[in-house]
Amino acid sequence: IMGGTKAEEGDWPWQVSLQWSSSHHCGGALISNRYILSAAHCFRSYSDPRQWIATFGTSTISPLQRVGVSSILIHDNYKPETHENDIALVQLDREVTFNRYIHTVCLPEANQAISPGSTAYVTGWGSQSYSGSTVPDLKQGRVNIISNTVCNAPAGYNGAVLSGMLCAGLPEGGVDACQGDSGGPLVQEDSRQHWFIVGIVSWGYQCGLPDKPGVYTRVTAYRDWITQKTGI
């Protein structure tokens, strides 16, 4: 995360580090005691579930729990060229034990409104500058939802942001997801202090540049797909 701050244990209890051969590769979000939501592009060249583990807690070096992966479900219509349908489900090989520091994030309804200008948080162990290296302690970044219209301005992504995608960042840049944050959650709080995952870190032009916010998979657009695959 660029321009973020250190997260404390229990701040984002649904945050998962997905590790390939025991080194952090992508983020993910715990949506049930067996399923993690992440991004399809994380698994493009890394598709063997036996090489993956999921860890919980704010430190990737000394995690609170480690769980193996039994299967990886990538969206059938994932298109790397256009980043369309950049969503995947990871099934764990056993149930996760919930406690104060590890439990699920809520999934939004398909029709849940995500208002431009509203506050959201993106979290991860990604680099803190473009082309930097991942970090061992979880970071959090406070961003604002940016409408697709604004995001697609010629100075922005000029139409590359499609309806299944969501932009978030700051107009002046500076706070953004970065390399290694992919697959991680963009979350918002509702009126009863419950937190919902509204985006999955997907792509963007470098990190934290003005007019080039982070682009996320819009989870509400895939709510039925998630139910169809997991029953949640």
């Binding site: 229990g10 104060r100 202090q193 919902f196």
Partner: protein, 185 residues
């Protein structure tokens, strides 16, 4: 035997400074003891959590009430929480009541049962049994049939902070400020 006429003897009057310091020392010690007693008896407060199940008569259960993500769940939970808050804020426990939160809506026959957690702040020396019955009686005073909610408390259980965490972490999307039922700012 000679007895000298004048024998010098130690003076019998105490040193006034010594007396002054002794009095001050005793007063300070007494003040500290009384202060500690007052603090521990009156001001040392602790949080208490209670779980209650409230039957909502005449409210049809549906799948929409199974997840906190739906507007219907938010609206019904919000109404129940504000009703409970209003009832306690108008009672003699208004200064002790902190917050109530619906942690689950479930079906019971033709009605809905709302599992709620309530947080209070009492001094450590309360009589827990009498406080429990006090809270129960206030819950039973909740107005029925207002805002088309017909609410009937069915049970009240004192629970530990640890069990509160367990109840909350079964829900999705909760962070420590909700788990602690932190006071609204």
């Amino acid at each position: 035997m000679y007895r000298p006429a004048r024998v010098t003897s130690a003076s019998r009057s105490l040193n006034p400074y010594l007396v002054f310091f002794a009095v001050v020392a005793v007063v300070v010690i007494l003040a500290v003891i009384i202060g500690l007693l007052v603090y521990f008896l009156a001001f040392d407060q602790k949080y208490y959590f209670y779980q209650s199940s409230i039957q909502i008569l005449g409210k049809q259960y549906s799948d929409e009430l199974s997840s906190p993500a739906t507007e219907k769940y938010r609206t019904l939970s919000g109404s129940i929480e504000s009703m409970i808050t209003k009832t306690f804020k108008e009672s003699d426990l208004k200064n002790q009541f902190i917050k109530a939160h619906v942690v689950k809506l479930r079906q019971s026959g033709n009605d809905v049962i709302a599992d709620i957690i309530m947080k209070f702040k009492f001094t450590r020396r309360i009589n827990e049994a009498s406080m429990k019955s006090r809270i129960e009686s206030i819950l039973h005073q909740m107005p029925n049939n207002s805002e088309d909610l017909d609410m009937h408390p069915t049970q009240l259980i004192p629970i530990t902070g640890q069990y509160t965490v367990q109840l909350f972490t079964r829900e999705c999307g909760v962070r420590s400020d909700l788990i602690n039922l932190s006071e609204d700012r």
